[in-house]
């Protein structure tokens, strides 16, 4: 399985660390809404198909990524930085040329 890091380009999955389900929404730390906390900790969509995930390119640029991975085929249909875009982060232009 290859994940195309927006900074580093296509890399083997061994360079990445799975950081969990990307659909979760963390309640306010001060919240005492137990149902919201329960949902955050336990409830998962578990889809057979496209799934929003958080991965870190831990063996590369170390950036956190939003990845859409198909749980049936492992096809990666989208990869983006979790935190904003960096002006210097566009793929190096030389690589886009044949």
């Amino acid at each position: 399985m290859l994940i195309t890091c927006p900074y580093c380009g296509p890399r083997d999955v061994i360079e990445f660390t799975y950081q969990g389900d990307g659909n979760r929404e963390r309640p306010d730390p001060a919240s005492q809404n137990f149902e919201a906390w329960n949902a955050y900790v336990y409830d998962r969509l578990n889809p057979a198909g496209d799934h929003n995930e958080i991965w870190q390119h831990s063996g590369g640029c170390r950036v956190h990524l939003r990845v859409v991975r198909n749980t049936l085929t492992h096809e990666i249909s989208n990869v983006a930085f979790v935190r904003g875009d960096h002006s210097s982060a566009a793929r190096r232009k030389a690589e886009d040329k044949p």
Binding site: C8, D12, I14, G60, V63, H86, E95
Partner: protein
Amino acid sequence: MAERQSPLEPEFHVGSHGNFEHGVEILLTETRPGSIVQLAAWPGEEKTLMAAIRAVTGLALPDGAGGGSSDGVKSVFGFAPGKFTVTDEAEGLASAFAKVVAPAMGTVTDLSHGRTAIRIAGPKAEWVLSKFFAIDFALPAFPVGAGRSTTHHDVFAQIQRTGTDQFDIYVFRSFARSFWKALCHASEEVGYEVQ
């Protein structure tokens, strides 16, 4: 100034090794830069930091991911968004950057004693490195000056191409001897010389 010890010392054997009867196709050296510095820009400060790098080193960074350059004495390359590795044969680079990189611009981390720089050169350099790292070493995909962050068996490595047939690899000092031994083993089949 105290003399710096090399972590490769017990396994650093100058001379030709391996299958070199038909010629040496790999040169291995330790470049021992006096300064290895890591710079990181806060979001939005990337261009300002790149200008500071130019002011201190005289090296212009090309735009884009992994871009870099080297003049043979000083080198710089991007290894992550807004983050750069800068090296110099001379000591004192970290203090030079500390003067120009304001706290609002980014951070300066002195890694001079934390990394070991190994140079692999020769017509089989791409071949040997391809046995270690799952990245494309072909010149069009990895141009001269450019840098890459990758991993060999969980040993993090930063690689800069400093020539058509030459790469500088920065590894953790504590892993450097083991990495060096592996590099020597991988070079045996093509014949290598340690200088």
